[in-house]
């Protein structure tokens, strides 16, 4: 691969490049740590390594190709792919030349892809494979601005007649060939980046209404990175696995923003979305971000494995978790451990926790973090009890993804920690969480009305979340303003808290609490097909399909027992008094879930109104 010539002129150029944009940071990093590993991607069963210099060269080559394709300052470049190197190359290349990256969920159906491409007026689309190309080709008429479509894996598309298609290899290859002569040109573009101009657009998949494109500047994201590095103690030698969708800021922070802010780290891209568990074992990351679904899944898969193991193992495991939870609670309350406590912890660490952490691929992980949605405190206690002190973080797309996080070692379960450096936080009317910071976004793309509703005259961001702030600044989120349930008795309840409590059961995958203007709280529950199926098999209950399984009396009784157990932790008014099992699994394609797998409440209530009414 061609490398940039480090002549006096390039040195002078690099000097003029500021560190207040992601491409600027990449150029400096590649200059200072050129031969250190930056990325690893598993290809053909082997982890291929890429240095910072090579990372930069691919970004520059892609930027040259984009210039040649007529992408100019202020244009939008859409990316439809699962996580892989080319994703970050495309994003940073677009930002390098003053264009804006727009991530689209690869799971989005055609109609949603059409909405985002046409709304953002994207001129170039980077597609992962045939599956994504088919969507883009099919919506050609609705997206007249799209001039070129590049395909990373062109398999199956070679005979397509759409003249906008070009393979990524050919596209970037043309840029690589000109690297020696034109790298300077791209560097000039990077030096000219205005940190307060838009750099990326992140579409938020609202649970109501069409998605809105949050426009973030270079300063927004670099400020978030710097604050994150400071509060977390994120070093320049971390190892990470990039696996959550890169169109969401949670993963962007860990894949792009933090490593570039910290001055290094190695980001791994696994084989596919289906191999995350295996990739996790091989990478054993030092920092790992999970969303509640991931933690729930890890927890339930461990519980099922333990249930199927020998009696001795079960006894040891249960004793270990019980002791672990006790000790974690003691530490959290600020009480020190005595000699016996240390001994007990060490013993169970050797006997139970170590093996469990290794099996999850988290033995080396010093900072497990949970974000993107609230997670049930019981689940967090369990993880703390097995030596994985998950910290919750909080942030919205509109504030560059991270505004609060529980610092390592200062965990308080049920809170999302103090505001990170540079973020002011207070409660507004109705206890709405308000924030002000250089991280607050520029506004919604082509939607001034929504922008004005979100950022007030004094630059406070209105989050729409309800919370409480403790004396020491630790924030707790109780729910969304619009989702709050007001019962017939006049009590204000947060459905999320009830739902998360229910979801601590390994047999409950999804739960939607209902109770607005009703006499009591009820719930529609989707069983976890794997775990409930496994349970049914062990009991010798035969079933054919999901619907069949969900209609078995035994399964209904199982869930009933689980609901009663979970009710035990809830206040009286919050307790679920009636429930029904959903006959099918909720799915994004049926417009029941958003791309981040959150329930679209409005659509959900409409579709299942008959089931709901049955309970009252």
């Amino acid at each position: 691969m061609m490398s940039m010539t480090s002549t006096a002129t390039t040195d002078e150029l690099i000097h003029r490049i500021h560190r207040d944009s992601l491409p600027g940071r990449l150029i400096h990093l590649a200059h200072d740590r050129s031969d250190d590993p930056a990325l690893r991607e598993k290809r053909l069963g082997v982890w291929d390594e890429r240095t910072w210099a090579s990372y930069r060269d691919e970004v520059l080559a892609a930027a040259i190709a984009m210039l040649d394709a007529g992408v100019s300052h202020g244009d939008h470049v859409a990316i439809l792919s699962e996580n892989r190197e080319e994703w970050v190359f495309a994003e940073l290349a677009a930002q390098s030349i003053g264009a804006r990256s727009v991530g689209v969920y690869p799971t989005n159906p055609e109609s949603e892809v059409a909405y985002i491409l046409s709304h953002s007026r994207s001129v170039l689309v980077v597609c992962e494979d045939q599956e994504q190309v088919d969507k883009v080709v099919a919506i050609r008429d609705q997206t007249p601005a799209v001039r070129q479509v590049t395909v990373i894996d062109p398999r199956g598309t070679r005979n397509y007649a759409d003249d906008r298609l070009v393979s990524w290899e050919e596209f970037v290859g043309a840029g690589r060939a000109q690297l020696a002569s034109r790298a300077g040109e791209v560097l000039e573009h990077i030096a000219a980046i205005d940190p307060d101009e838009p750099a990326t657009v992140v579409y938020t998949s609202g649970t109501t209404g069409p998605p809105k494109g949050a426009v973030l500047s270079s300063r927004n994201v670099t400020a978030a990175g710097d604050a994150g590095v400071e509060i977390l103690g994120f070093s320049d030698r971390e190892e990470l696995l990039s696996y959550l969708p890169l169109c969401h800021l949670a993963e962007k922070i860990f894949t792009l923003i933090l490593p570039l802010a910290a001055g290094g780290s190695v980001v791994h891209f696994g084989e596919s979305i289906d191999t995350v568990a295996e990739d996790l074992l091989e990478v054993s990351p030092t920092v790992f971000v999970g969303v509640p679904r991931i933690w729930e899944k890890m927890h339930s898969s461990m519980m099922v494995r333990i249930a199927n193991s020998s009696r001795l193992k079960r006894v040891l495991f249960n004793a270990g978790v019980a002791q672990g939870e006790r000790l974690a609670t003691k530490k959290e309350a600020g009480n020190g451990w005595n000699v016996v406590d240390h001994f007990v912890w060490r013993m169970f660490d050797l006997l139970v926790f170590r093996a469990l952490q290794e099996r999850l691929g988290l033995r080396r992980c010093w900072f497990p973090i949970s974000g993107a949605a609230p997670v049930a405190p019981e689940l967090l206690r369990w993880f703390h009890g097995v030596g994985l002190p998950i910290a919750e973080g909080y942030g919205q797309t509109e504030i560059a993804g991270m505004s609060h996080v529980v610092p390592p070692g200062e965990v308080r379960i049920g809170t999302v920690g103090p505001a990170i450096p540079g973020v002011e936080c207070m409660l507004g009317p109705g206890d709405e969480v308000l924030m002000r910071s250089p991280q607050v976004f520029l506004g919604y793309l082509f939607n001034e009305e929504a922008t004005a509703e979100t950022i007030d005259e004094d630059s406070w961001l209105h989050t729409g979340d309800v919370g409480t702030i403790a004396e020491d600044g630790y924030l707790s989120i109780t729910g969304r303003i619009k989702d709050i349930i007001i019962t017939a008795g006049g009590k204000n309840l947060s459905p999320e808290q009830i739902e998360n409590q229910m979801k601590t059961s390994p047999y409950i995958k999804e739960c939607v609490a209902i109770g607005d203007r009703r006499k009591f709280v009820s719930a529609l529950i989707q069983i976890d097909a794997d775990n409930a199926g496994d349970w049914a098999s062990r009991k010798g209950i035969a079933y054919t399909s999901f619907e069949d399984l969900a209609s078995k009396d035994e399964v209904v009784q199982l869930i009933d027992a689980e609901v009663r157990r979970c009710n035990g932790v809830l206040a009286r008014v919050e307790q679920v008094r009636a429930f029904r099992l959903l006959p099918k699994e909720l799915h994004q394609d049926d417009e029941e879930l958003t791309a981040t797998q959150k329930v679209r409440r409005t659509a959900f209530y409409e579709r299942y109104s008959a089931l709901i009414e049955e309970m009252y």
Partner: protein, 275 residues
């Protein structure tokens, strides 16, 4: 996902002006009085996806068995890549570059996906047992090379997540895919597929069709398939031969076959009657 027809050019039709890869000349196969194949002739050209269809007992699988050296035809000539295979043994035919998959999955149940595929590379091993024991030089290079070839197929067929799982633990559709993979790692010139979509649901069938088109487009391997599922054949094949009671009753592209009155009577008609 539906793609508007006008944006996908018609599939490139394989060139049929050169030498055929397979030549079946007036082949008759009979076992003690029963004639399984009766005077059947056809030619398959390089790069083609060629289908043989027909009701049960029409002689489809027997045709494959003649091609792969399992049966010796009583009369006629079977040529693959210019060699007469009618007097060859199956493993000799394999060396000519003929690979096949079976109607029922024939994998090693307790071997992993990876190991099952490595077995498929056996035909390309040239090192001695002594060399393998020492595992230096050529033996080692070969092992690395073979593993790479297998990994390419794992990538091609999206088998990553099943790499280290025993075949018998896997769903039927995946097992069929592994079997296809085992044929592909042999880097064949000709791939014989015996009912690749048998017993599959709609989604799995679509996946198989996708992979077979990719094999044609990306790997340029000539494929012959015997299939019951007419939908699969009509969407995939460049040309189709129809057999009925050992006789060839029609040959042509899928559109022609669908219109052929003889075929409708013998094949589609019977299917309709059965239902």
């Amino acid at each position: 996902m539906e793609v508007p027809a006008d944006l996908r050019s018609p599939r490139r039709s394989p060139d049929r002006s050169g030498e055929p890869l397979v030549r079946f000349e007036d082949v008759t196969l009979s076992f003690s009085g029963i004639t399984a194949i009766d005077g059947v002739s056809f030619e398959v050209f390089p790069g083609e996806l060629y289908a043989i269809i027909g009701p049960n007992g029409a002689g489809k699988t027997s045709t494959f068995n003649c091609l792969s050296g399992v049966y010796r035809p009583s009369r006629g000539r079977v040529e693959v890549a210019g060699h007469d295979v009618s007097r060859m043994l199956p493993h000799e035919v394999t060396r000519l570059g003929v690979a096949r998959t079976f109607q029922n999955v024939e994998l090693f149940p307790m071997l992993t996906t990876l190991e099952n595929l490595l077995v498929g590379r056996h035909v390309h091993y040239t090192s001695t047992w002594l060399g393998d024991g020492i595992f230096r030089g050529r033996a080692r290079r070969q092992e690395v090379f073979n593993r790479r070839k297998v990994e390419e197929v794992i990538d091609f067929l999206d088998l990553e997540r099943f790499r280290d799982l025993p075949a018998s633990f896997l769903p039927y559709g995946v097992q069929k895919r592994i079997e296809l993979g085992r044929a592909l790692v042999m880097e064949p010139k000709l791939l014989l597929l015996d009912e690749p979509a048998a017993g599959m649901n709609q989604e799995e069938t679509e996946d198989v069709a996708r992979y077979l088109l990719d094999v044609q487009e990306e790997l340029d391997i000539t494929q012959m398939l015997v299939e019951h599922d007419l939908g699969v054949v009509m969407d995939l094949a460049d040309r189709v031969t129809v057999l009925d009671f050992g006789h060839k009753i029609a040959e042509g592209d899928p559109e022609e076959i669908q219109r052929d009155p003889e075929v409708i009577r013998a094949y589609l008609g019977k299917q309709a009657e059965k239902r």
